[in-house]
């Protein structure tokens, strides 16, 4: 039975991450993980006339890199799962127009990277696709406009705010080949403990992450000892300790193995990163760039990546609603061939 426990999918064929593509903007490139990304684009406009078009290009480029690295051409892609943060997920939709492959659009806010990867692994595992791509992108300036103020507006942000990562991340999943294997995915429930401020996303998302991670251990019967690293998407310096506490309340102790992509991607000394990175691309570029590299180097054998998404809209915030959040986790194991 591929469903184990209540919310965890087990992929018996262990689909392979044939190739991944990561591309980031200049600020991320100057961060501590700058060397791990496939490409750094120093022009946040990506040669386009609007931020939205630039975000789209980040997504397209990430997919192009992933396909190129795996030596797979576009016609061989059976399905593309993609999403982003903009209204009507235009970055994903318009990138899919360029790519012209069968496409399913997703909205999971910043959990989209692992939502897409779980679905890609499931489709390949079930035999509906030989090659499935999961991709996502975010852009600091489009997110500012979508969720906050104009880019050049001089409003002051509190220290609990987060900095949306500019970048694109894509993963090509296939049946066989060298590369890390995807063994399980735990699909999260929407959790909302009543945090309302959009400047406190880390605190809002922590309960969803804790819920999914605890559920993963319960469903699989595994313990933190089975993993070398457990990472969340973008809980930031506020959300990570909160999630740690919530998980410890359930008797699970993660210790030093528990990290957050939003904290890893920026140096706290960088200008205006506040409590850490966020955005769809955050979890994607750190996982596919940094973590998989460490896995290939043999530092990590098995990791659990739990992408966290805040499912708010500017409208719901203005109407005084709290922030529903979701988190999806995927298990990656080092493949036999490296």
């Amino acid at each position: 039975m591929p469903l184990i426990g209540q919310q965890t999918w087990q992929f018996d064929s262990k689909p392979v991450l044939l190739g991944t593509g990561t591309i980031v903007g200049p600020k991320e490139g100057k961060g501590p993980l700058g060397m791990d990304f496939d490409e750094i684009n120093e022009d946040p406009y990506f040669g386009q006339e609007s931020w939205e078009k630039a975000e789209r290009r980040f997504l397209e480029s990430a997919v192009e890199i992933a396909l190129r690295k795996a030596n797979v051409n576009r016609e061989q892609v059976d399905v593309l799962f993609a999403g982003d943060l903009l209204n009507q997920i235009i970055s994903a939709n318009f990138a899919a127009r360029t790519m012209a492959v069968p496409f399913l659009g997703l909205f999971g806010a910043c959990s989209t990277s692992m939502e897409g990867l779980a679905l890609a692994a499931m489709t390949v595992d079930a035999g509906f696709a030989a090659h499935a791509v999961a991709a996502t992108a975010s852009h600091n300036s489009t997110a500012e406009r979508q969720f906050r103020y104009p880019t050049e507006y001089g409003g002051q942000k509190p220290p609990s705010a987060q900095c949306t990562v500019t970048g694109g991340a894509a993963a090509l999943v296939g049946k066989n080949g060298p590369g890390p294997r995807l063994t399980h995915a735990t699909i999260g429930k929407v959790v909302d403990l009543g945090i309302k401020s959009p400047f406190e996303m880390g605190a809002a998302m922590a309960p969803a992450a804790a819920d999914t991670i605890v559920r993963h251990f319960r469903d699989t019967g595994r313990t933190p000892d089975d993993y070398d690293l457990i990472v969340t998407g973008d809980l930031s310096r506020v959300g990570l300790p909160l999630a740690t506490e919530l998980i410890e309340e359930q008797g699970i102790f993660l210790g030093d193995k528990f990290k957050d992509c939003g904290i890893l991607i920026f140096d706290p000394d960088q200008a205006e990163v506040f409590s850490g990175g966020s955005g769809c691309a955050c979890c994607g570029v750190v996982t596919y760039g940094h973590l998989l590299r460490r896995m290939q180097q043999g530092e990590l054998e098995r990791i659990l990546v739990c992408a966290t998404g805040a499912l708010l809209s500017p409208l719901s915030t203005q109407q005084g609603e709290s922030i529903p959040c979701v988190a999806h986790a995927v298990v990656m194991e080092r493949g036999s061939e490296g």
Binding site: P150, Y153, G154, Q156, P159, V191, L193, A203
Partner: protein
């Protein structure tokens, strides 16, 4: 039980979590922010005063009508700094210091105009330019009306 189940059980645990989240959320450095706002806000006003004196001394304005060209110069500087991508950096450091003076108002309009340029001149720039500044004008006018009304009533009562 898991967190989501807890949440459903009632508001108590969720308010417990909100309390804990508040404890772990770094606070805005209010005192530091106030000092920075005082310094930058004061500096901008100082600059305004300097410009005003300049117009009085060299261009034959008097104290009353020197205000208009002074504000125009401040707005120009603010808009230029917004266009050069500097004003938002100042704003992050100075907070209310750069938001409250007329320069902050100019920044809110210029930044919205730049941002929405991609949606066209009429509906983009024209339609969105007052996105942030609009409420200030609306409630500024309402406040002025109320204050004027109160003043009028008191004056009539005094007679």
């Amino acid at each position: 039980m898991l967190v989501s189940v807890k949440a459903k059980r009632g508001l108590q645990i969720s308010s417990e979590y909100q309390k804990r989240a508040k404890e772990l959320t770094p606070r805005r450095p209010v005192v530091g922010n106030a000092i920075r706002a005082f310094l930058v806000g004061g500096l901008i006003c100082e600059l305004g005063q300097f410009i005003q004196q300049f117009f009085i001394a060299y261009f034959g304005f008097n104290e009353k009508n020197a205000g208009n060209p002074t504000v125009a110069v401040l707005i120009f500087i603010s808009t230029l700094l917004t266009g050069l991508g500097v004003y938002d950096r100042i704003g992050q450091w100075a907070g209310a210091g750069s938001a409250v003076p007329v320069t902050g108002f100019a920044n809110s309009m210029a930044s919205a105009a730049i941002e929405h340029r991609s949606e066209g001149t009429v509906l983009g720039i024209g339609g969105q330019m007052f996105k942030i500044a609009g409420p200030v004008i609306v409630f500024g006018t309402v406040a002025a009306f109320v204050v004027g009304l109160v003043k009028q009533i008191f004056e009539m009562a005094a007679k």
